[in-house]
């Protein structure tokens, strides 16, 4: 399942997509410790699978919470994307 967390408003579309089918097979969940603001958590989803998700209190402000990892120029690789060895995480912006 592709779970899109975030929002779209007048300023654009801001979604973090987690491919939970890839998450199920991941044993270490590096995303949780890699995110400097602790946006990720491991949950048991509706189908009883252990997967990564964005915490509820971050979902409506991902644009701002991800800001420090996304400088305007010389953007380094995103820590969450780098830490996710199954390649399950992507950002829309």
């Amino acid at each position: 399942m592709k779970a899109n967390y975030g929002y779209m408003d007048g300023s654009g579309e801001f979604f973090i997509t987690i491919d939970t089918d890839s998450c199920i097979a991941c044993g270490h969940h590096g995303c949780v410790s890699a995110c400097p603001v602790g946006m990720f958590e491991i949950i048991v989803d509706d189908y009883d699978d252990e997967v990564a998700a964005i915490k509820g209190d971050h979902r409506k402000k991902v644009k701002y919470d991800c800001g420090p990892c996304k400088p305007v120029s010389d953007r380094p690789p995103l820590p969450c994307v780098t830490a996710c060895t199954p390649g399950a995480i992507s950002h829309s912006w």
Partner: protein, 296 residues
């Protein structure tokens, strides 16, 4: 003397049960309770068949709304709470359903409910709820494969439509039909903010636009708003709409035109999709528990 103000946004609350069925003959009675931000529904199923449901406005207290929706669904039936083998809570207030055995997100429940309402061919479900909008892709068993939810602003939600019904003094149930009563489609109002859209609409009324034309402009904006959401997940055939806005023909027709697709129609009430899915989950969970117990 103060004028008594009519609440044009207020939609009709109702309950229903199938009088041709005797639920006491059923082996398994399950229930789903969907406590949404604007409306609450309870669905009761007897051996996987829809038996009863209620649909009412959510109050300020989620547990109380869940209890009321359940009581109303049971009203007039021979069933009591004690007959329910398993209850699943869903929706915005799902964790506050005091008598639920489990809480499941409305995304999974709408996919499951939509699968029953529209058949296994449905792949894209758009749930236009009271305060959010969800685009869901699912497989032939009603399992979610992709979802996207927008709950950051009221544009594209039922609450936005209620604001317009009140502004224009048109009953919420007549908004859709009236919006189609225009000779030419007007340009849409702001699709990103209900407050801005309301300001625009007030200006248009001052310019002399008839109510139908203003409503057409808002329905069009709403259709475009949800279209962008659907575009992001990628619409797959067959396509269906659930939630209260599915009853607004003005938005549905404009969205269908923008998508170039007709939405599936169902004999079921579109507002019960979430609760129906929850009741189906409840049935599956009881059967799983029974199977596990029999294996031990």
């Amino acid at each position: 003397m103060a004028e008594k103000r009519k609440e044009f946004w207020r939609w009709k609350e109702y309950n229903w049960h199938d009088e041709s069925m005797n639920p006491k003959d059923a082996d398994l009675i399950t229930a789903g309770v969907d406590v949404g931000s604007v409306s609450s529904q309870t669905v009761i199923m007897a051996d996987g068949q829809l038996y009863a449901y209620s649909n009412m406005r959510t109050g300020s207290d989620s547990p109380d709304s869940a209890r009321k929706a359940m009581s109303w669904a049971l009203e007039g039936t021979p069933l009591t709470m004690g007959d329910l083998a398993y209850t699943v809570g869903t929706g915005y207030g799902r964790v506050n359903v005091p008598f639920a055995n489990r809480a499941i997100t409305e995304i999974a429940c709408h996919a499951r409910g939509g699968n029953m309402m529209y058949g296994p061919s449905v792949r894209t479900i758009l749930d236009m709820g009271g305060q959010d909008c969800k685009a869901i892709l699912c497989d032939d068993r009603g399992k979610v494969t992709n979802f996207l939810m927008n709950d950051k602003c009221a544009a594209g939600t039922g609450r936005g439509m209620e604001v317009f019904a009140d502004l224009l003094a048109v009953s919420i149930e007549e908004v859709g039909e009236l919006s189609l009563d225009v000779e030419e489609e007007p340009p849409p109002v702001s699709s990103t903010c209900v407050v801005f859209a309301k300001s625009e609409a007030t200006s248009l009324l001052r310019e002399g636009w008839p109510k139908s034309k203003v409503l057409a402009a808002y329905c069009s904006a709403m259709a475009h708003r949800v279209y962008t959401l659907l575009e992001r997940v990628g619409v797959q055939k067959e396509f269906a709409i659930t939630g209260g806005i599915a009853k607004n023909i003005g938005v549905v027709k404009r969205l269908e035109k923008e998508l170039g697709l007709n939405s599936l129609k169902s004999k079921y009430d579109t507002q019960i999709a979430g609760a129906l899915g929850a009741a189906l989950f409840a049935k599956a969970l009881v059967e799983k528990e029974r199977k596990q117990a029999a294996a031990q």
